[in-house]
Amino acid sequence: VPLSEIEKNEEDWQLAQTYLNRFYKLKDSSAGFASKNRNYVSKSSLSNKIKKMQEFFGLEITGNLDSATMGIMEKPRCGVPDVAEYN
């Protein structure tokens, strides 16, 4: 999504990042990425995880934080990840 969109919805951004981090293993190759802001997550990584979540829930696969995607993220749910390797 265009950065300005995300900045406009800072709260959505936070919720999405927490959600994707917990259920779609957000920390991946970009974790080794040297960046000033420890919380920095590459846009492409976020967009890919949003697509993974949209695909899981049968939503339109856009990679954007649209209302249907946010609607699912706001629903009460189980804490077990939807996609993850289990050790």
């Binding site: 829930f57 049968g58 339109e60 749910r77 189980c78 077990v80 939807d82 289990y86």
Partner: protein, 369 residues
């Protein structure tokens, strides 16, 4: 399943309830846990035994925030519970978020429903993509007495442990199926617009479709509107008053966004429909005339929303007034001067002004197939 198809290497599984929630009595917690395990033992060779001390395979507890497993809960709502896949130690253990309001009914999170889901994980099931499955990640209330595992749940657990080896006196009813968008025999129970989107109702579900999106999202009706029936007969959008009317049996509900409006359900007799009509098959609101048409059997009624009264001389036979439309219909909606009538797998595109059917298509295209 989890990667590696993790499962218990035995059929006799022990469980232990370590503590209780103050929200409901300990007896109710015992009952909810027992029933939640039973839905899985009923359809597999698994046997669950409760123990009261020592290490059980499934250790059950209530805890808030950080509760000792490095997977903290998050306060009320959001995360409700979690469980670990089958393994020694923490494997199989099931934790419920104490910051939730636990209930045996619908005024809070129903402990039986959440426990049944979590025990699916404790037995080796991961999350399902089937919105009608118990193992779908998000919570939707369903009446506990009517609860049934979906075919997806049954297939998943029996792939791990096989089917129950007991001969049951009364064979179990078939698990409910989740509608398939490409099913050539698909039919709709109801169709309506809602604030620019389209809703296609089928059994406990509806497809939600945004005009610009080719895909349609399948969702449980009660996941959106917990207080209306799980399955409906007809629906229409009262565009002027910005609400969706859903009809089931001889009752109707007015829904504004996510909320069922106060004072509903009401009886369809209020529209002037005779009490002999037990079920409405389809309803459609025509904006240009502000009329709402109700179809039941081979007849239909016309209700004038402006006068708030049934038009004189109804019912009429459908075939008398709608040339080319079947004698009975499943669903209907109006858009840009056309009425789309649905009957079985076919839809009939009817031009109101020209008073004739222009086109007949299959209905699957509406839901992305």
């Amino acid at each position: 399943h989890f990667p590696g198809t993790i499962k218990w290497k035995k059929d006799k599984i022990t469980y232990r309830i370590l503590n209780y929630t103050p929200d409901i009595s300990s007896t109710d917690v015992d009952t909810a846990i027992w029933r939640a395990l039973k839905i899985w033992s009923d359809i597999t060779p698994l046997k669950f035994t409760r123990i009261f001390e020592g290490e059980a395979d499934i250790m059950i507890s209530f805890g808030a925030r950080e509760h000792g497993d490095n997977y903290p809960f998050d306060g009320a709502n959001g995360l409700l519970a979690h469980a670990f896949p089958p393994a020694a130690g923490i494997g199989g253990d099931t934790h419920f978020d104490e910051d939730e309001t636990w209930t045996m009914g619908s005024n809070g999170y129903n402990l039986f429903l959440v426990a049944a889901h979590e025990f699916g994980h404790a037995l080796g099931l991961a999350h399902s993509r089937d919105p009608g499955a118990l193992m779908f990640p998000t919570y939707t209330f369903a009446s506990v007495n009517e609860f049934r595992l979906s075919q997806d749940d049954v297939s998943g657990i029996q792939a791990l442990y096989g089917a129950s080896n007991e001969i049951k006196p009364n064979p179990r009813p078939q698990p409910p199926k989740t509608p398939e968008k490409c099913d050539p025999y698909l039919s709709f129970d109801a169709v309506a617009g809602l604030r620019g989107e389209m809703l296609f109702f089928k059994d406990r579900f509806f497809w939600r479709r945004h005009p610009q999106m080719p895909e349609a999202q399948l969702t449980l009706i009660n996941s959106f509107w917990p207080k209306i029936p799980a399955k409906i007969d007809a629906a229409y959008e009262n565009f002027e008053r910005d609400f969706l009317v859903v009809i089931q049996g001889n009752k109707y509900w007015a829904v504004n966004g996510y909320d069922v409006m106060p004072g509903y359900p009401k009886n369809i007799r209020r529209f002037g429909i005779p009490s002999s009509v037990r079920k409405i098959d389809a309803a459609v609101h025509i904006r240009t005339t502000s009329k709402t048409l109700f179809f039941a059997g081979d007849q239909y009624w016309s209700f004038d929303e402006t006068k708030r009264a049934m038009d004189e001389g109804y019912p009429h036979l459908i075939t008398d007034d709608w040339p080319g439309i079947p004698a009975r219909v499943d669903a209907a909606f109006e858009q840009h001067g056309y009425i789309y009538f649905f009957r079985g797998p076919a839809q009939f595109l009817y031009n109101i002004r020209e008073q004739r059917v222009l086109q007949i298509d299959r209905i699957n295209q509406w839901v992305g197939c």
